[in-house]
Symmetry: C2
Subunit: 273 residues, 2 copies
């Protein structure tokens, strides 16, 4: 059984268009990349297409190295015509990732990577939650009642596993949350007992049918390339017994819709300041 993520994206996009129709500000997104590979370039092109379809101005800036990126980010963070900043990851220099996310103006941090925005999650404020984590929540809230459910998250990244766990613990949602990872023992016993499973491990076909409870909701955050095709972290056979999000056209698409929605909301907010 497949969760219809297309209609969730459409719903968010409709909200984006509605927001934009009510502001006179021209919303603008700037996306950065450093020495991008062809995969990154093709992702940024699809972003551009999406932005244009919604009426958001889009600029793609390719920096030659991390130092140039830093200088460009500082300038862009102050530019009042820019309402959202996106930085393609991973960066060539992994060491500087934290420094880079701190250079993005927290109010334009549509990806939700800035430590201050992450810390706000602990206080229940999700205005700039990590965009992929937000996409997971958007899908879950439309697919099931979360309250009191057992949710297991496989993966503990700063952009998915950790923030999704905090967001599912928020009082309005109140799932009982377990976070698993490479050091977890007997993972199958944990996932098999879960109503909700979020998988973000980056390994094709990682979650097998025998690891999943009948009728569970499975959110597949994985993006893996196998023989030139994009596949998720969830074995295709899981859909015979549980609800799963497709890959491609699942979490990734909803994430792009979330990103654009934030650019629109930021533009509308700047209108009122």
């Amino acid at each position: 059984m497949l969760i219809d993520c297309k209609s969730i994206s459409n719903e968010i996009d409709a909200n984006t268009k509605d927001t934009l129709s009510k502001t006179s500000v021209k919303a603008k997104l700037v996306s950065f990349a450093v020495a991008p590979d062809s995969g990154t370039i093709s992702y940024l092109k699809s972003q551009k297409k999406k932005a244009s379809s919604l009426g958001i101005e889009y600029e793609m800036i390719i920096a030659t190295d991390v130092d140039e990126l830093k200088a460009l980010l500082k300038r862009c963070s102050k530019d009042s015509s820019v309402h959202g900043i996106f930085v393609s990851h991973p960066l060539p220099d992994k060491e500087s990732e934290l420094e880079i996310v701190q250079l993005v103006n927290p109010n334009k941090d549509i990806e939700g990577r800035n430590p201050n925005n992450l810390g706000m999650l602990i206080y229940g404020h999700e205005q700039f939650s990590p965009c992929t984590a937000q996409a997971v929540i958007e899908i879950l809230e439309r697919s099931t009642s979360i309250m009191g459910k057992k949710a297991t998250i496989i993966g503990r990244s700063p952009t998915v596993g950790m923030p999704v766990s905090l967001m599912l613990l928020k009082r309005e949602r109140s799932a009982t949350v377990t976070v698993c990872h490479t050091k977890t023992r007997n993972l199958q016993a944990i996932t098999k007992d879960s109503d909700i499973v979020v998988v973000a491990v980056g390994r094709a076909g990682f979650l097998k049918p025998e690891m999943v409870k009948e009728g569970a909701i499975v959110i597949d955050v994985g993006i893996n390339v196998v023989e030139g095709k994009i596949v998720g972290d969830v074995d295709n056979k899981v859909q015979e017994k549980a609800w799963i999000t497709p890959v491609p056209g699942g979490v990734g698409s909803v994430t792009t819709s979330v990103l654009m929605n934030r650019v629109a909301l930021n533009a509308a907010r700047s209108d009122k300041i």
Copy 2:
């Protein structure tokens, strides 16, 4: 079986004294309270005693209301002679708590309540983790090997449950972490299967022996007053089958040692700037 928290406090205090002996800066802690009750006053007095025993200058400032507190915090945050700021909680005006923690200079935020410092936990940086959460970790690291263990946290507060879960997920520790709360179903099945249980619910005797696995490590963060006596969240009988931290003289004492240690480290750092 009782975990010897006294020796853990002593170890941290010894480190504090050593740090102070190597700096010429006079370390100073300022603690604030708004319209404090007798319990808060007596806690602040014990803080003063501890600071003085370690050679840390201590100032207690009582504000008449939250507005006065805000003005005082702004000044204190800029005062270079102050190396740590403590604010007694809860505040009379709960709504303003987030605003208050944001007024504390993040570099003097020895309690680790500032959103930026909380967000840094997600990136694995714990310099200013919430002090009670840090005390829990200090105790656990000296009591058991955490790697791969099942840890259950009961309670999801911004100062204990949520940060402890992030800190136990950090790669060097790598526990499998479950966070439970009032909406959790069948809590006993979860706690009974856990190697580590951290309880922070604020209900005397909440964790019963039948909820705990033989030989588990139980960290009691509760502070409750029952018939004039301070007791924790863990039923006394749990110590017949598991390791527990005493209350009083457990997490609370270690937390005070952690606080003082941070003031000393901050003073030593200011020496080098």
